[in-house]
């Protein structure tokens, strides 16, 4: 009897051990630099229209690895797939920096095998000093930029230089400005104007931010994070809080539009490439990241999406006329690094959501 019971216990222990081994096996599936990647396939999740249309064909032509590209519309969209399903089937996911941080903290990302990504040397040295993932252990930056003021030089009789120009607008400007409605960005101008960190979790500072935004709201034309640059083009708005790349879409339509990085500073946002820990195709995934870092591929993003990329040879090869037409493409990595990187705030995110809801509903 006793022996049988202990036999059961041994069996149970063995089962647990096997299960654990399986679980950790999927989690850390070791990378074999000599693996034959042509036997692997890749599923890549990335924002729509954020990559060359023939990316999959080009990668397959070069490496023999078939790629399926799926699109997500927002970070939350892909986070839901990656964090709730048992296996998302995704090998490579493009997410913003603080989301890469959140995924890495949950153990969902594979450590990058840098020996398979020699093109990492194309990145600016500054691109490995990003607060959400110092040293780029789990992620590599794909595009980066900042947030500032996008305005019509022909409709304003002054040059905005400060977040205060947006938050406490002159009477003739009031009613023609917009702010972003996404929580971490809605609070950004007030945080910088008041001298706080964009990652603040101090209730007193949050209260001051709230007071500023409550005072600003009546002066706004709208909260808008999808059509703000169109509003500047039509002249409905004279000055909007804008991501640098999106302001460029306005500049492309009207050269009277300008972008300024306010003197109080701003954020450094980064969209990154990550490899999922659950991926059975990690070697091919590393090869894919390496392929993106080719100056020609990475440069396509800068030239066509008008977002800065952290790739030195790609930016050096950029047609100077693009920087002439879109001056914020010329913001240097050193200038970008002076801005603050948003990091994931964990449970405190709820407080930001509540604040933004109160401002919008109030």
């Amino acid at each position: 009897m006793r022996t049988r019971r202990s036999a059961h216990a041994v069996l149970a222990l063995a089962a647990v051990a096997v299960l654990t081994a399986c679980a950790s096996g999927t989690a850390t599936d070791p990378i074999d630099p000599d693996a034959d990647i042509t036997e692997q396939t890749l599923t890549v999740s990335i924002w729509a229209d954020y990559y060359p249309a023939d990316l999959a064909e080009r990668f397959e032509a070069e490496t023999g690895v078939p790629v399926t590209i799926v699109n997500h519309t927002t970070n939350e969209d892909v986070m839901a797939k990656l964090t709730t399903g048992a296996d998302s089937g995704i090998d490579v996911a493009f997410v913003s920096g603080q989301y890469a941080q959140a995924l890495a903290e949950q153990g969902l990302l594979a450590e990058l095998e840098k020996s398979l990504i020699p093109n990492e040397s194309n990145l600016y040295p500054e691109a490995s000093e990003l607060a959400y993932d110092p040293g780029n252990v789990y992620s590599l930056p794909y595009a980066w930029g900042t947030t500032g003021l996008c305005y019509r030089t022909d409709l304003l009789d002054f040059e905005p230089t400060s977040w205060g120009d947006l938050l406490n607008p002159a009477p003739e400007v009031a009613g023609t400005t917009t702010m972003l409605a996404t929580e971490r960005w809605m609070t950004l101008p007030a945080q910088k104007f008041l001298g706080f960190s964009i990652n603040t979790t101090d209730p007193d500072e949050l209260a001051q931010i709230r007071a500023q935004l409550e005072a600003t709201k009546p002066t706004l034309l709208a909260f808008d994070d999808t059509t703000f640059y169109e509003k500047v083009v039509t002249g409905e708005a004279t000055m909007v809080q804008a991501w640098d790349g999106w302001c460029n879409y306005g500049i492309a339509e009207d050269p009277n539009i300008s972008f300024v990085l306010p003197e109080e500073g701003s954020d450094l946002w980064v969209d990154t490439m990550t490899v999922l820990a659950s991926s059975p195709n990690k070697e091919a995934a590393m090869a894919f990241l390496n392929f993106i870092l080719e100056p020609e591929i990475h440069g396509w993003v800068a030239e066509n999406i008008l977002y800065k990329v952290p790739n030195a040879p790609a930016m050096e090869a950029l047609d100077p006329s693009i920087i002439d037409a879109f001056p914020n493409m010329g913001i240097t990595p050193a200038e970008l690094l002076e801005q603050e990187v948003a990091i994931d705030l964990g449970e405190f995110t709820v407080e930001y959501s509540r604040l933004v809801t109160e401002i919008q509903a109030g």
Binding site: D77, T83, T178, T182, L220, E236, V350, S353, Q360, A361
Partner: protein
């Protein structure tokens, strides 16, 4: 014979019922379950049962949003009723060959994507838009009138989108009213107003109630109109629910908010069914 008929009934009912059970009841069940669980830090839920999500509904900011939503939806419904009733009445009294044309015209806007129609309102209403541009060009105004990104603009947009959902049930109710009843009342000396009040309105009531539910509930749940036409300066329940899932990563609270909407819908349908059955019960009793 009998069993084969039953088999046929099952075959006919089966696919639709299975579809509804799978894609309506299961998600609804998920919402109910999620509303009692705890927020996962990175989205999703943790299996810890709590009532916190419902307690949070009572916080002033959420009470305010729910109140605004009910008010906005109620006003939209009332306006839809006022605008929709005469339209439905006239259509139902048209010669039958024109009726189809008129009904197709009412439904015509649905042939174009909702977002595109919403953008059209932006082009019409904005400060540099067609209406302000025309008024300025004609010298009727000196400065543009702020129309877009205001609460009246939100209601205008909601009314535009949902008015057909009021007209159609109203039409079907009014169309069934026997014209002989109105004629009889007129012949017996009732004024037109009295005929309308004592015959047309009571008999059209089921349609009015259904149309009101059809307009009220989606008005509360809409999040595109407040964002695009309202300029994000006010929130409806729909925005709040969307934001919990897509921005705040707070699925349990989003589920609790969604349940409010379900509760309001069920309550309205219950009231509507009771009112209708009482009326029809009354009518059938009166018949012999």
């Amino acid at each position: 014979m009998r069993s084969s008929r039953r088999g046929a009934a099952a075959a006919l009912l089966g696919p639709g019922s299975v579809y509804l059970a799978l894609f309506f009841l299961v998600p609804l069940g998920l919402i109910v379950v999620y509303a009692f669980l705890t927020r996962g830090r990175f989205g999703g839920v943790l299996p810890e049962v709590t009532l916190d999500n419902f307690a949070r509904l009572l916080e002033p900011v959420y009470v305010q949003v729910i109140g605004t939503s009910v008010g906005t939806a109620a006003l939209t419904t009332l306006l839809a009723l006022v605008l929709g009733f005469p339209t439905a009445y006239v259509i139902s009294r048209l010669p039958s060959r024109w009726r189809v044309t008129a009904l197709v015209l009412v439904l015509l806007p649905f042939w174009t994507n909702f977002l595109i129609r919403t953008y059209a309102w932006i082009i019409l209403l904005n400060d540099a838009g067609w209406i302000n541009g025309s008024l300025l060009a004609l010298g009727l105004i000196d400065d543009p009138i702020r129309m877009l990104y205001t609460q009246p603009a939100v209601i205008t947009g909601l009314l535009y989108i949902y008015l057909p959902l009021m007209i159609l049930p109203l039409y079907s109710a009014i169309e069934r009213i026997d014209p002989a009843l109105e004629e009889a009342a007129t012949n017996l000396g009732a004024s037109r107003w009295r005929v309308f009040r004592t015959i047309t309105i009571p008999l059209a009531l089921p349609g009015m109630l259904i149309g009101s539910v059809f307009v009220f509930v989606p008005s509360m749940a809409n999040f595109v109109i407040p964002e695009l036409i309202g300029g994000g300066k006010s929130l409806l329940l729909g925005n709040l629910i969307r934001d919990q899932f897509l921005k705040a990563r707070d699925w349990p609270f989003g589920a609790a908010l969604a349940l409010i909407l379900v509760a309001i819908l069920v309550l309205l349908l219950f009231l509507q069914a009771r009112a209708t059955s009482r009326m029809e019960g009354g009518r059938s009793r009166a018949r012999p």
